[in-house]
């Protein structure tokens, strides 16, 4: 069950979106590694969804995508479409599976990066942009996914720390604590 978006959460997500976009355009994009720049924005969207749920993830994805398109003067609606789906998907993963494994942010971050790059390329080709599929494009996608996966854990840590205080207490976490200390244990009910 996902967290309901509140005013505090919305404010923090908005601030996070602005910082992420400015950081991306001002610093990260200008430091290519192996010819490819790290893309923080799909990671932030995915982790917002993973932290706050599908609704918050979808809205955050739409907003961050729109902000990216406006800032970089790209085709309006393209990035927001892809990020909406990423945020929603990450949120649904959290609502259905609630993964708490340490590698979850790594896998989710990698998947988000892959979906973002592949989805963007597919949409651009579908829109008729003259960008023939080539080995170089494939190389950039693969390297980009690898780089984003590497930075996924630190980004997750920052997003989690920033959003955690504004999120309500997770009932399932309370139930787990109760299960181990007593009170709500099935044995106590018996």
């Amino acid at each position: 069950m996902g967290a309901q978006p509140s005013g505090a959460v919305a404010a923090r997500v908005a601030a996070l979106a602005v910082v992420a976009v400015f950081l991306q355009t001002g610093v990260v994009s200008e430091v290519p590694i192996f010819g490819v720049a790290i893309d923080l924005t799909p990671l932030v969207v995915a982790f917002v969804g993973l932290e706050c749920g599908s609704l918050a993830g979808a809205v955050a994805g739409f907003a961050i995508g729109l902000l990216v398109d406006l800032t970089l003067v790209q085709t309006l609606g393209l990035t927001s479409l892809i990020f909406t789906l990423i945020g929603y998907g990450a949120g649904r993963l959290r609502e259905l599976r609630d993964p708490r494994a340490a590698l979850t942010p790594l896998l989710v971050g990698g998947a988000a990066a892959a979906l973002s790059m592949v989805g963007y390329s597919v949409m651009e080709i579908a829109l008729g942009v003259d960008a023939p599929v080539s080995f170089e494009l494939l190389r950039q996608i693969v390297v980009g996914v690898v780089l984003d996966t590497i930075v996924a854990l630190p980004v997750w840590a920052l997003v989690h720390r920033w959003l955690r205080p504004s999120l309500p207490e997770d009932p399932r976490r309370r139930r787990r604590r109760a299960y181990t200390t007593g009170g709500l244990s099935p044995l106590s009910k018996a």
Binding site: I33, S54, V59, L76, G77
Partner: protein, 324 residues
């Protein structure tokens, strides 16, 4: 309750996706001056100053990351620059070799067309005796083999061609003048470059003749005759190209050839100082002299009836214009 949550979630998703598609379609379909483009430009106008400020504030961070990135790139760039350097060095060496080969070919070309004074090592010599016999026009000079003088070395003075060395001693040599029957010089009319062979006129030590000039050769009295820098037969001398021999004093029409008489420029009866053009071992004239030594012997036996081996220069060594 659960259904309501699910419906709301799906509705929001559908709404956002639809909105994205509408934006995408509208933006893609409109002109660059459309409303959405204007909104985008307006947003950029508002955000640009903030972005510039943020970039300036984040510049140290960017530089730090850039330093790491450059350090990672540096090794690859160093290898690339080294490869490029090696490639350019090889090209430079190739070009230098090509340039040297070109210059050598150019020198050979000059040699084929005629030797130049720079190809020789001149040795100054004084004339200490001269033959009085009209049949044999020779002088003796005070430089010999000890000074590098060799048989067949050309001899000139400041006026022009004098003759060639025909005998050598250690400290002296005999020079046969161009008016001697043993000497034939490959020449050309300076103004028209028409080639010919210069021989002495029998019985007249002050006159030379050019034989075997084609009838249509343009030559007039006053034209200068110079060496052509080639040889036509064994025994002929390797005179550098362009050394004056004489001036045309008479042009006669004797079909199918023209008969041209030349007055020699050098004062052959009052020689005092001459210059022997010796060939340094290994130089172009020396190499050419060795090749010339293998040419067929000139077929001339009687004075006054000197005939060159062949008018067409059958044994001509890289003639500048053929014929002779």
């Amino acid at each position: 309750m659960h259904d309501k949550t699910v419906r709301r979630r799906r509705a929001v998703l559908v709404a956002l996706v639809a909105l994205s598609l509408i934006l995408l379609t509208a933006y893609f379909g409109e002109s660059p001056n459309g409303r959405l483009h204007d909104v985008q430009r307006g947003f950029l106008t508002v955000v640009s100053p903030i972005q510039e400020g943020a970039n300036a504030a984040l510049k140290p961070v960017r530089n730090l990351f850039g330093w790491f990135g450059n350090a990672i790139h540096a090794k690859h760039q160093l290898a690339e620059v080294r490869r490029q350097n090696a490639r350019l060095r090889a090209q430079l060496l190739q070009h230098t070799n090509d340039e040297l080969a070109y210059k050598q070919l150019l020198r050979l070309q000059h040699l084929d067309g005629g030797l130049h004074l720079a190809d020789y090592r001149p040795v100054n010599a004084e004339v200490f005796s001269q033959s009085a016999n009209l049949w044999y026009q020779t002088v003796n000079i005070n430089q010999g083999s000890s000074a590098g003088v060799q048989v067949d070395d050309p001899v000139i003075d400041d006026e022009g061609v004098v003759g060639k060395v025909t005998a050598v001693a250690s400290d002296g040599a005999q020079v046969s003048l161009i008016t001697d029957s043993a000497v034939a010089v490959a020449a050309m009319i300076n103004e028209t470059r028409a080639p010919g062979m210069v021989y002495p006129k029998v019985g007249d030590p002050n006159t030379l003749v050019i034989k075997y000039l084609p009838a249509n050769t343009s030559v007039v009295v006053g034209n200068y005759v110079v060496t052509s820098g080639t040889i036509s037969a064994k025994g002929a001398s390797l005179f550098p190209r362009g050394i004056p021999i004489g001036q045309v004093s008479y042009v006669g029409e004797e079909a199918p050839y023209k008969s041209v008489e030349i007055h020699p420029l050098a004062n052959l009866r009052g020689l005092e100082t001459v210059q022997v053009l010796t060939a340094v071992e290994g130089s172009a004239p020396a190499r050419l002299a060795k090749v010339a030594a293998e040419l067929p012997t000139q077929q001339s036996s009687e004075p006054g009836s000197t005939e060159a081996g062949s008018a067409g220069g059958g044994g001509q060594l890289a003639s500048a214009g053929g014929g002779g």
